[in-house]
């Protein structure tokens, strides 16, 4: 009998030993459920380089151009504080009044600061755009990150797909263009993660802009009976070629997911033609698509796919390199678009409104001293290359997020690399992500910072 017991227990242990690593590798056995704080996360990468002085510090023209008494808050949806009362140039233009003199009315009844958690002074990890965006998505300072290459370290999408078992169509990156390395941000080329765990991605100005309309909008819509043999043939041919995971050159959705995404693209073009894509009330002054356009398509993706994780990038404020007035206008509109997105989720997507966390953070700041370029108001422009450009803020609001203001100008708390651990914490895979070895060792969840 003892021998039989021994054999039975040994066999059970050996079986568990074989199966457990397989389960743990994908993480699906333990990740869902756990201590999740929310079921959806929207990360707004408030990018382009946001100067601390004109945003969270609310000093408007006082710090930047030396105009005494011209301080005030030009981001009324995000931060508490009264608007400036002089030299208003960032609003909309009304006939007979100076250009930009009418601030856009606040959309949210309560600012995001007063509903959520504001980290007033956070340390950025770089003063450049692409590395900054990498930091937001990988949780690593990415000092050796090259341009025109995929992130070297796994992105939050890959962590979530591998350790929380999310599907490709549950993870989305919305880029604001295909320039530079932007369309490569949906996945790293890391050998342990990579495209097999990457996110879906659109760059709305291209995908849904004039090029997209010309190339995609005329496509045939196949019914399921027509699609099935096409997929059968593709599947047969793919089995015969059998690519290894390391040879993947793209994110891969299932056939059902691909069909759904294609249908979504067709519907977007149909809605465009009918003028039915909801947009923030005020878009860019010059008529170019701008940040509001990108955020509107992010909202469409939210409504259709209800992704577990969506990151959307904007970058209009980078006009600050050569035009300070345009920068102020873009900052005010980015605030407006951010407020609109949160309001849209609350009012139009009831399934997720109470279980979503909205995170907003710039990827870098801007310089303390200006460059010599003057704009139409004789105001100096600012680049991003000095220590002041390492100063940023972050905001978080939604399910299980306490209302509090953390840190300040003389008391910096947190790093931009905290964003990925925070999202991992929200979805209950914090330990797996921190143990991956790819996260900034000084990073931690923003929930743990307080």
């Amino acid at each position: 009998m003892r021998r039989r017991d021994f054999i039975t227990k040994s066999a059970a242990l050996a079986g568990a030993g074989i199966v457990a690593p397989t389960i743990l590798k994908t993480g699906t056995a333990f990740a869902r459920g756990g201590n999740a704080k929310a079921e959806h996360v929207v990360l707004l990468m408030f990018a382009g380089g946001v100067r601390q002085q004109e945003s969270v510090l609310q000093r408007y023209l006082e710090d930047s151009q030396g105009v005494a008494g011209a301080a005030g808050n030009i981001m009324p949806n995000l931060f508490n504080g009264a608007a400036p009362d002089r030299k208003i140039v960032y609003g909309t233009s009304l006939p007979g009044l100076p250009p930009g003199s009418e601030p856009i009315p606040r959309l949210l009844s309560k600012t995001i600061e007063s509903s959520g958690m504001l980290f007033r002074e956070v340390q950025a990890q770089s003063v450049g755009h692409y590395v900054g965006l990498n930091t937001l998505l990988t949780g690593n300072s990415g000092t050796a990150q090259g341009l025109k290459t995929r992130p070297r370290y796994p992105t939050i999408f890959e962590y979530l797909r591998r350790h929380a078992g999310f599907k490709a169509s549950e993870c989305w990156m919305v880029a604001n263009g295909i320039g530079n390395s932007m369309p490569l941000l949906n996945s790293s080329d890391n050998a342990d993660y990579g495209l097999a765990y990457g996110a879906n991605m659109f760059a709305p100005p291209i995908t849904f802009g004039s090029y997209g309309r010309e190339i995609l909008a005329n496509g045939k819509s196949y019914n399921q009976q027509e699609l099935a043999p096409m997929y059968d043939i593709k599947r047969f041919l793919d089995q015969s070629f059998s690519l290894g995971q390391e040879q993947f050159n793209t994110v891969r959705n299932t056939e059902e997911e691909r069909t759904r995404i294609k249908e979504f693209i067709r519907n977007v073009f149909a809605k465009q033609s009918a003028g039915q894509i909801p947009m923030p009330p005020v878009l860019h002054e010059s008529g170019v698509p701008g940040d509001g356009y990108n955020i509107a398509y992010a909202a469409e993706i939210m409504r259709e796919f209800k992704p577990r994780m969506l990151a959307v990038n904007i970058g209009g404020v980078d006009s600050c390199h050569s035009n300070f007035t345009s920068y102020l206008s873009a900052l005010h509109r980015a605030d407006h678009a951010a407020g609109w997105l949160w309001q849209y989720i609350q009012n139009n997507i009831p399934d997720i409104k109470d279980n979503t966390i909205f995170i907003i953070a710039p990827e870098c700041g801007r310089n303390l001293k200006p460059n010599p370029i003057l704009d139409q108001n004789d105001w100096y422009a600012f680049d991003h290359s000095d220590a002041n450009a390492m100063r940023v803020w972050s905001l978080m609001v939604g399910s299980n997020v306490p209302q509090m203001s953390v840190g300040g100008e003389s008391n910096p708390i947190g790093r931009l690399t905290d964003i990925v651990p925070t999202i991992a914490d929200i979805f209950g895979i914090y330990d797996e992500v921190m143990a991956s070895g790819y996260i900034d060792p000084l990073a931690k969840s923003m929930f743990q910072r307080v």
Partner: protein, 163 residues
Amino acid sequence: MLSFKTRVLSFCFLLALGSCKRETHVTFGVEEKGLYEDKALKTKNKNEAVYISVLYTNLYQTPISPSQLYKTQAVIYSIGDRNVANEMVLSNYFNTQGLNIPTNSAMRADVEAFVVDSYKRFFLRYPSEGEKTWMIQYINRNDQLSVEMIYTGFAASDEYQYY
């Protein structure tokens, strides 16, 4: 003593005699062969521009214009899942005039020839016997299957992304 003239003539005669050789025909046993790719050697991924150029030329039998190429490349680049992008581009092509592809009746008239031609057209190789058999049976079993559907499967396949 031979005269100078005789000497020169004799020298030229000897020179001409020595320079003549019988022409020999050398053959190396080379046979004419069609050259086709081997799928095992297709290791390089086509970038967007190559994929679109090859696909467009394949379907329309004419090169794509630079402007069309640029726009299509940008659109494919703007979509995360390249399979989704390729399938959308294909469905757009199949909704246009000017395609140079076999008719459905031509396919049904000689399914085996169609299958072999399709492999050569898309993959630049002959199908294996197994591939050919499966494909012929699949076409014969499905009355509603069209050339468009089969070509979409080929053009969207992994092998077509490599060279």
